[in-house]
């Protein structure tokens, strides 16, 4: 299976990104040990110069991770024709035990990466780079994830056996089966709806509150993360049903298909972007008392919060629109 061009591209990207991150982590260790902004030594000068290289490398790494996340899902979707029993990305991810961990790692790296970029942006605003140790410590935590992702992805592609009959969304996302996916599918739609709009309201309100009053940044970030998780559950539990207009089809991947008007992309892109922004404003907010960063935090964190709030808003509007405009009627069954 390795000779498929999309797979070669994914492996190539993951290998390059891992290499760049390893390079950066070597530098990170040096920074953590030797950084001293007040020193005029040659080493400090060299370190300061090198930060430019490293942040450029990392920006590119995280941007390519983002594209590779999209490509990974899209590729899984398009390979579903090559496996017995696979009808969408779920079946391909299920082909072996490495598929789901790879996807999860890619998502986690995406959020870590965007948070890191936000922190890096903020740090560059301060004339004395006050967060430099923090951000390189954070980087050292991201590197193992990237290495793990490279490994799991490679295993996923190497162990693809077209003769294995895989189980697809119909089996995995059904209320009668066992496992996390089944649990999520089995959540009562009214509970899921309540949770979705509940976390949505808290996130939007705390976001606006933070953006206007500059208080409660942590609350906003936490509720943003909760809203993200609940939104994914809600997509599996009831939003997808309305998009498919089918009371038992819970798959979160089939909505990416052209047959459903690419609804999935319209839902996931605002949701992921909003969560990333919320996390970004969350990592910025705690530094408002640093003298060299106060102005930058006061300017940029609320800006990110506004963006996050509008993207979350867009997601809720779209989700509600899909539910309202669907021909599926289940009110008599649920309530």
């Amino acid at each position: 299976m390795l000779l498929n061009p999309a797979i070669m591209a994914l492996v190539l990207v993951s290998a390059m990104v891992t290499m760049m991150l390893l390079l950066a982590s070597g530098f990170a260790i040096q920074v953590i040990r030797h950084w001293d902004i007040n020193s005029g030594s040659e080493r400090q000068l060299e370190l300061e110069r090198r930060t430019y290289l490293i942040s450029t490398l990392l920006t590119w790494s995280f941007v390519s991770e983002l594209i590779s996340l999209l490509l990974f899902v899209y590729n899984a979707e398009s390979m579903s024709g090559q496996f017995v029993g696979a009808m969408c990305a779920t079946g391909v991810l299920n082909v072996n035990e490495w598929g789901w961990p790879t996807l999860l790692l890619k998502i986690v790296i995406f959020f870590c990466g965007t948070s890191w970029l936000a922190l890096n942006y903020l740090d560059n605003q301060g004339h004395d780079y006050p967060l430099v140790r923090w951000k390189y410590t954070l980087l050292l935590l991201i590197v193992p994830l990237a290495v793990a992702e490279f490994y799991t992805q490679l295993q996923h592609f190497l162990n693809m056996d077209p003769d294995v009959i895989t189980s697809c969304c119909g089996a995995l996302f059904s209320a009668d089966a066992e496992g996390v996916a089944a649990e999520v599918s089995g959540v009562e739609p009214d509970t899921a709806m309540l949770a979705l709009y509940g976390t949505g309201a808290i996130t939007l309100l705390s976001g606006v509150w933070y953006a206007r009053r500059r208080r409660g940044g942590v609350l906003f970030t936490l509720s943003g993360v909760a809203a993200f998780v609940v939104a994914l559950m809600a997509i599996v539990s009831f939003i997808s049903l309305y998009i498919y207009e089918h009371p038992h089809h819970h798959c979160p991947f089939c909505i990416l298909k052209s047959g459903h008007g690419y609804a999935g992309y319209l839902l996931y892109i605002p949701l992921f972007a909003a969560t990333a922004m919320a996390l970004g404003s969350g990592v910025m907010a705690p530094w408002k008392n640093r003298p060299s960063l106060a102005a930058a935090v006061a300017r940029d964190a609320p800006r990110l919060a506004w963006l996050a709030v509008s993207l979350f808003g867009l997601f809720y509007l779209l989700a509600s629109w899909y539910v309202m405009n669907s021909s599926l009627v289940m009110t008599g069954v649920w309530w």
């Binding site: 498929n4 061009p5 591209a9 450029t56 899209y74 398009s78 024709g81």
Partner: protein, 377 residues
């Protein structure tokens, strides 16, 4: 926000004029870059269109083909197998087919001979594919003769030439009546080449195939979905092989880009020195270089992709044809249906733009940290 956009606009403006000042060097890079994108994009567009075409052709194929096996070889199926398999729930239609191959020494090519009762051909008439008509130089009303199994020669009048739209599959096809077929090949009455079954519900296909191989143990069912799956992986695989072969070219390109980016001329170094002396920061120089890369990448990508598109869909992919689609005497002439897909574009991006970026980051950074006094002295 507006300020940010305005700043980037000025940077792009500056970058463009600085690129134009060194036309020769940048045009060379652009040319090589475009060529790489062109080659890879041609292959992707071509294999993808072929795969699409195969899928469309097979759309109307029967869901199950049943072949009888004798000692591991494909053998004729007795007509009573149709009764022996009994009625299978979910099968909407089943019938025996008669077909085979015929080698014509005059044009050194194989024809596919098939019985088509639906066309109502008499025993003296045939319908031929456009490839045969081209190779033998015959048209409607002309005669074509085949040497039968027992040495006799039979002549048939060409009643029709198959519509060139379907040439990909019908180029070498000869359609004839059942009587003519049996007389030419000596296949006795009561035997078929194979049996085809139509199944309405795709989810029942595997179960029906299982039942068939239980009731008729000496047969082998071939499923349409399996053929489709095989085509799918074969085309991806061929594309992958060509990509691996081109890996050397990509690597050469990466080295070339690295070299271009790191071999700054004295003049360019001076330019960066002056920029820094008048107040540009390292980050600004990096940004300018980023825009430089973006302008070159984008132009090369668009130019390469568009010319690949023209090459594949208007020029029949002349350069890669033999490797990717195979060859034959009666090769079909066909126009591929243009098809662009996001996955392809993203993959192509990762094979061309991504290596370029990775190769140029370090040289660009090296250039941007230059001390003004070091270069202007």
């Amino acid at each position: 926000m507006i300020d940010l956009i305005r700043k980037q606009r000025y940077l792009i403006d500056f970058t463009l004029s600085s690129l134009l000042r060194r036309k020769g060097k940048n045009l060379g890079l652009l040319l090589v870059y475009t060529l790489i994108v062109f080659m890879l994009a041609s292959i992707m567009l071509f294999t993808h269109a072929l795969r699409q075409e195969a899928g469309m052709v097979l759309q109307s194929a029967p869901e199950i083909i049943l072949q009888r096996m004798v000692a591991g070889r494909h053998a004729l199926v007795p007509a009573d197998y149709l009764e022996k398999m009994g009625s299978l729930r979910g099968v909407t239609d089943k019938k025996g087919r008669l077909w085979g191959y015929f080698y014509d020494p005059t044009v050194k090519a194989n024809y596919t001979m098939m019985v088509d009762e639906a066309r109502g051909l008499t025993a003296m008439e045939v319908v031929i594919g456009a490839g045969i008509a081209r190779a033998k130089g015959i048209g409607i009303g002309d005669y074509i003769s085949f040497r039968a199994y027992d040495g006799d020669a039979f002549s048939f009048q060409v009643k029709e030439i198959i519509n060139p739209v379907t040439e990909l599959v019908s180029s070498d096809l000869v359609l004839m009546s059942e009587r003519a077929y049996r007389a030419t090949f000596g296949v006795p009455d009561g035997y078929f080449t194979d049996i085809v079954l139509k199944v309405r519900n795709p989810r029942e296909v595997r179960k029906i195939a299982e039942k068939l191989s239980m009731r008729l143990p000496d047969t082998r069912p071939i499923l349409r979905e399996e053929i489709l799956r095989t085509y799918d992986s074969i085309f991806s695989w061929r594309q992958g092989i060509v990509f691996v072969l081109l890996a050397g070219a990509i690597l050469a390109f990466v080295i070339f880009a690295w070299d271009k980016a790191s071999g700054l001329s004295a003049e360019e170094k001076r330019e960066i020195g002056i920029l820094k002396a008048v107040g540009w920061e390292t980050a600004d120089v990096l940004r300018m270089k980023f825009w430089e890369g973006a302008v070159i990448s984008l132009s090369a990508f668009i130019l390469g992709y568009l010319s690949a598109y023209a090459h594949v869909f208007y020029g029949s992919a002349t350069l890669f044809e033999p490797v990717l689609k195979g060859w034959a005497v009666l090769y079909p002439e066909f126009q591929l249906t243009p098809f662009i897909d996001g996955l392809q574009v993203a993959t192509l991006f990762f094979f061309t733009v991504f290596p370029y970026i990775v190769a140029t980051i370090i040289p660009i950074w090296k250039a941007s940290i230059t001390d003004p006094d070091a270069v202007m002295r």
